[in-house]
Symmetry: D2
Subunit: 351 residues, 4 copies
C-alpha cells in the first residue's frame, strides 16, 4: 500500500502516518519527492485498512500495491488449470461448447433441443430451472421437475448438465442432479452462495456480474477457490454500458485480460452478451479468436415460442452452423473443438 | 406493444405478424406510414412475449408501450405512500434520517455511535451484521450477536433498527429483532429474497443496484408490493459509471424521476453514493434539495478504526453538522426534519 | 511515478528499470516488500513517459503520483478564483444565474425570452448561434445574424451574453460581440480551440464532456489557464451512463469534488444534465445545495415551438419559480443569489 | 413517431395532440388500448420535433419510428459499399490492414516503421501529425513537416497515407498530401469538420466517439454522405465504460451490428480499444472473426521510446505475427487479407 501525502502535508502529518503504519506492525518506507512524500506500508500480507489512512490529515490518496486475489492469479499458478467434464477437458487446448435452452419449459422442448445440440457437437447441456426474472409476472421456472427433465436429457444424450443455482439451500439438491453449478451474473457477489459452492467441491461456472470489473470477477472466484474447490470456469457475458443497440456490451478485451491474469478456464456467453440471435455467431467466433476456452450458447427448438430469451436463442440448425464456424476459428488459432477422451457414458459413471 | 416493421417488409410478413397478434387473443392495430408499417398489439394486460415478435421475418423492432410495473406507479396510486416508523412518518412532509455504522463491530462502538446519532437528531439506527464483502479475507460481520447488540442499542436510545438481510433464511430471525429489513444493492434483483420480504409484511428499505436502471428498481419494488407488503422505501445509493474520483456516481436525477413515477418514499445514501466522507454532507444537502424523503448515512465514533467503510463514515460531530445543514435545506423546500408524533418507547411497543 | 514490479520480477529486470529511471535524470527510490519491489521515480516535474516503463520486462503496473494539472489545482491556489461579469462576481458568495434559449431562433423569441429571464433575476443571457446538431437535417443556427440579435438583447436588458464558440476562426468575431465564450461538451478536448480561447483572454465557460472524467475536465481547464487566461468557469452538464430515464446523468458528486480540487468557479446545467424540463428545478436546487457557484438554464418563451431542446426548456414563469426556490436554497447554505455591485449599463461599458 | 399518452390522459388532451399532429400537415393515427391511447404521427419524412409533443399535457412518452439516418443504412443501399485505395479494395472480401506509429516523430522513426509494416503486409500507413493530447504539456505533433515525412514514406514504400485532420482549415493542405482523412474519436460530432470532409470528396476514416452509440456513429457518417462523399470507412475504437483493466472497452458487438445496419466498410482499432500492446493481437483476431473489413494498428520501431501511445504500440515483429494470425482468421471466415489489383506506384499515380 502506498500512502500519497498532499503537497502541503506537514512534517507532523507525515510522522503521524508513519507511526500508524508502524503501529500496525508494518514497515514504513518513506520516499520524498520534489512535490510530495509517499509512504509505503510494507507488511506480511495481512489485510490492511486503506480507509483508515484515507481519513488521516495530510493524506491525498492511498494506492493498493498487492492484487486483492491470490489463488486465482497466474502469479500463484502459472500453468492453465484444467479439469475433465464427462471425458472432455475444460481449460485445455480444446474449445468446449455448452448449449441449450434458457429455461427448461417442458419435456419435448428440452429433449428435442438436447438431441439437436448433441448432434451439432455440443459438449454439455445448459438449461435453467429456477429463473431470476426481472418482472414478478414472468415465468419463474419449473424447479425440481426441471432437474428431472435435465437428468432424462443427460441419460438420452450423454451430455453433462450445467444449470444455475440461486440459493445455498438448492446446492444439496442440485449436486445430486447436475454436473456443473452455474452462478448467475446477479449472484456474482452473493458471497454466501460463493462460499457454499466453494464447499460443495462441485464444478462451478461463474458468470461475471453485469457491472463487475475483471478484478471483481477474480475476487469472486477467489471466494470459491479459498474453500478448496479448484474447478471454476469464468464466464464473460457482457457488461452494462450506455450502448443500447445490443442488450449488453460484450467485453471482448476481458478474454485476453483474464487469460493473462488467471490460470482458470475462460468462456463467453454470446447469447446474453448480445441479446440478439443475429449477432450470436459473429461474437462466438470473436470469442474463440480472442482466446476463449469455450462458449455457452442459448439454443431452442422453437425460439419464437420460448418462454424466456427467445430473441437471443439460436435454432438448432443455426447452432450447427455456429459450431462449424467456431471450429474453423479454433483451427486458425491452433486449437480445435474439444474431443472426448473416453466414451461419454463411462466417464459419466464417475458421478 | 408496437411492432415496427422494416421498410422492406412484405405484405406477407405484415400479415404473419397480424395473425400472430390475433392468435394471442389481442387486437392488431395497423398503421401504414410513408416508410414503414407499425402494428400495435392491444390487449388485456397479460404478459406478451416481445421476443417472439423480434424473431419474425420483416420485423425491425418491438417497443413496449405499457410500463412493466403497476402497483409501484403513481398512475396506480397518485398520492404518496407513507407509514409510521416508531412514531415518525416515513414518506410524509418530514425528512427522515437513518444513521449508524456500516458494520456492528462491538458493543462500545455500536452503543456510543447510537447515542451520538440519536443526540444529533437521527430517527433510526443502521448497522450491518451480515456483511457482503468483496474479498473473502475481509471482516464478514458479527451475525446474531450483532442483532442482540442492535436490540440493546434500541432499548437504550429508542431508535428503530435498520439492517440488511441477505438470505431468505435470515428473515424469520431478523423480523424478531429489527424494524426495517434492508435489501442491499447486490440483492436488488435477488427475486427469491424480494418475494420473501414481500411476504414478511415487514417494512423494507430497497437499495438500487449499482447498475440497475430506475425502471428496474421499480420492478424490484413491484415484486415486494405484489405480495401485499406496502411498506417499501426506495434508496438511491449511487450507480457505477466511468468516473473514478468517487466510489459511485450519485444519480441525483433519480430523486425527481422516482418522485414523479412512484408513490413510494425515496431516500438517498450519500455515504455509498460518494464513498468519501468529505463529500457526504454536500450530497446529503443536494438529495433533500432535490426532493428526497430521507437519508441513510454511515456514522462511526472512530472512523479511522472502522473495520469497513471507514473512509466514507462521518464522525458524530460531523453528522450533527450534517443534520443542521440538511434541516436548513428541508426548510428551504417547505419541509422539515421528521418529528416524533408520540414518545418513541410507546410507539415502539407496537412491534 | 511508482513502478510496481511483478512478484516474479528478476533482480536483472529491477536493475534495468532503475537504470532507465536514472538515465532520465530522475532519482530511483527502491522499496522492497514481502511480495514485490516498487520503484519510485522522483524527478523535477518534467513529463515522464509512463508507457515507456509499462513495456519493460518484469513491470506489472505504473502508477502516477503527481496530478496531471497544476494551475487549476487548489494546491497551486488555495483561495477561490473570482472575476466580475458585468458587475456581478462569478465564483464569489453569490450564486450566478445564466438563462436563455438553447438557440437564437428569431428576434421576438430572443428579446421576449431575454426580458423574461432578466425580470426573473438572471444575471446573464445564454443563446446559441452555431448549433452542433446530431442530425445533418436539423436546424443549424442563425450564425452572425444571431450574434447581432444577442447584442440587441444585451442593449435592451443589460444582461451579458454567453454563447458557444465552435471553431478557432469564430473567436475573433465572437469576442467583439459576446461576454463569455462557451466551450461545449463535445469540444472539451478540442485542444486547438482551448488554446485559442486561452489566448483570447476572454472569460470562458467550459462544459464537461459527456464522457470526460473530472480529472480530464481539469486538464482541459489547464490548457486554457496555461495561456494566461484565468477567467474560466467549469460547468457540469451530465455524463453518459446506462440510465435512460433521463438524457444524461447529473454527476452531483462532481460539484463537491471540483470545489475541493480546484479554485475555479463551478456551475451546473440542469437542462442538459436531465433533458426534461420537469426535473430541471429539482436538480437546480440540488446543485446549489451541493455547493455550485451558479446555474445555466434553458428558458424559452414558447418551448413547444422551440427548434431545439424544447423538451428541456423552462417557460419563463417556471424559471421565475426556479429562481425563487434556488434563492431559498442559497440562503440555507449561507449564500445568496449574486447581486450587482454597480448599475449594469455602467459596468458593461468596460467592454 | 408514436405519441404515448398517460393512462389518465383526458379526451381533451388527446384531441389537442391530434390537432397539433394534423396542424403540422401529418396524419394522426389513433390506437386506443385497454390502458392508454397511442397516437401515430405519419408524415412525409420531414423532421418533426419530438420535444414539442413531450411538453404537451397528458403525454407520457414520444417514441421515434424512423431511423434518423438514411444514406448510411442498408435499407437505402443493401449491397456493401467498396472503393479502391491504391489498388486495394476497401469494404470488399479482402481484409485491409492500416499500420504505423501514433505520431510521426522524426524521419528515421517513420521511415523504418513504414518499411517494416509494408514488409509485414500492411496496405496503408497511419501516422499523426497534429496530435490531440490530454495534457497541454505533452508532445503536440510535427505539423506540416510531418506531412512531408509521410509523403516521403509513401514514395519509398508505395503505401497510401492515413492521417488525422483536426480542423476544417487543415483539409486543403491535407488533401494535397494524404490519401485518407481520419476523423478522430473526439471529433466524431464536430459537425463543421464532418461537413468539410464531406465536401472534400476525399476518402474518410471516421472513428466512433468514445461515448457515442452505434446510431450516433451512423448519424455522423450521414453528415459526410449527405455532401456526396461516399468513401467513408467506419472505425470502432473502444468505448468508455466502468472497466479499468483496459484503456477502453472494445465493443465487439458493434462489428456485426454495423455490418447489419450499414453498407459502409467497418474496421477496428485494437490499439486504442485495448490500450495495451499485449492484448492487441487477440482483439485484432476477434475483430476479423466478428466480420470486420480491416484493422488500424499502432506500430513503432522502438515503442519504449515513443512520444505517445508507446504502451499500446506493437514492435514490427509482433505486427508481422499479427498479420499472420489475422490472415488465418480471415481464411477461417471465408475471406483473406486484401490483395493489390495493380502495382501500387501506378495506382497511386491517380492521386
Amino acid at each position: 500500500m502506498m500512502i500519497i501525502m498532499r503537497t502541503d502535508a506537514t512534517a507532523r502529518e507525515i510522522t503521524a502516518v508513519v507511526e500508524r503504519v508502524e503501529g500496525m506492525g508494518l514497515r514504513a518506507h518513506i520516499s520524498t519527492g520534489e512535490e510530495r512524500t509517499v509512504i509505503g506500508a510494507i507488511g506480511d500480507g495481512r489485510p490492511v485498512y486503506k480507509d483508515q489512512f484515507m481519513l488521516m490529515s495530510g493524506v491525498d490518496r492511498v494506492l493498493p500495491i498487492s492484487r486483492p486475489y491470490k489463488l486465482a492469479s497466474r502469479e500463484f499458478r502459472p500453468q492453465n488449470s484444467t479439469f475433465p467434464l464427462n471425458g472432455v477437458q475444460v481449460g485445455g487446448a480444446g474449445v468446449v461448447l455448452i448449449a441449450g435452452p434458457c429455461s427448461v419449459e417442458n419435456r419435448s422442448q428440452l429433449l428435442e433441443t438436447a438431441h439437436a445440440v448433441r448432434e451439432a457437437g455440443a459438449h454439455a447441456l445448459r438449461g435453467g430451472v429456477f429463473k431470476p426474472r426481472t418482472s414478478p409476472y414472468s415465468f419463474q421456472g419449473l424447479g425440481e421437475e426441471g432437474l428431472e427433465l435435465l437428468v432424462e436429457a443427460r441419460q438420452q444424450t450423454g451430455l453433462p448438465i450445467v444449470t444455475e443455482v440461486m440459493r445455498e439451500e438448492q446446492i444439496a439438491l442440485m449436486t445430486r442432479y447436475v454436473d456443473v453449478l452455474q452462478i448467475g451474473a446477479r449472484n456474482m457477489q452473493n458471497y454466501a452462495l460463493l462460499h457454499a459452492v466453494g464447499e460443495s467441491q462441485h464444478p462451478v461456472l461463474l458468470k461475471r456480474g453485469m457491472s463487475a470489473t475483471v478484478e471483481e470477477l477474480l475476487m469472486a472466484a477467489e471466494y470459491i477457490l479459498s474453500h478448496g474447490n479448484r474447478r471454476v470456469i469464468l464466464c464473460e457475458r457482457g457488461i452494462r454500458t450506455f450502448e443500447t443497440s445490443t442488450r449488453n456490451t460484450t467485453d471482448i478485451n476481458a478474454i485476453p485480460v483474464l487469460k493473462e491474469m488467471t490460470h482458470l478456464p475462460v468462456i463467453l456467453d454470446p447469447s446474453h452478451s448480445t441479446g440478439n440471435w443475429s449477432y450470436v455467431t459473429s461474437v462466438a467466433r470473436a470469442a474463440v479468436a480472442a482466446g476463449a476456452d469455450g462458449l455457452i450458447v442459448e439454443v431452442h427448438v422453437r425460439p419464437d415460442e420460448a418462454m424466456s430469451d427467445g430473441g437471443q436463442s439460436l435454432k438448432p440448425e443455426r447452432f450447427a452452423e455456429l459450431v462449424r464456424q467456431v471450429g474453423a476459428i479454433a483451427e486458425a488459432v491452433g486449437r480445435s473443438l474439444a474431443k472426448h477422451s473416453a466414451p461419454s457414458d463411462q466417464s459419466h459413471a464417475a458421478h
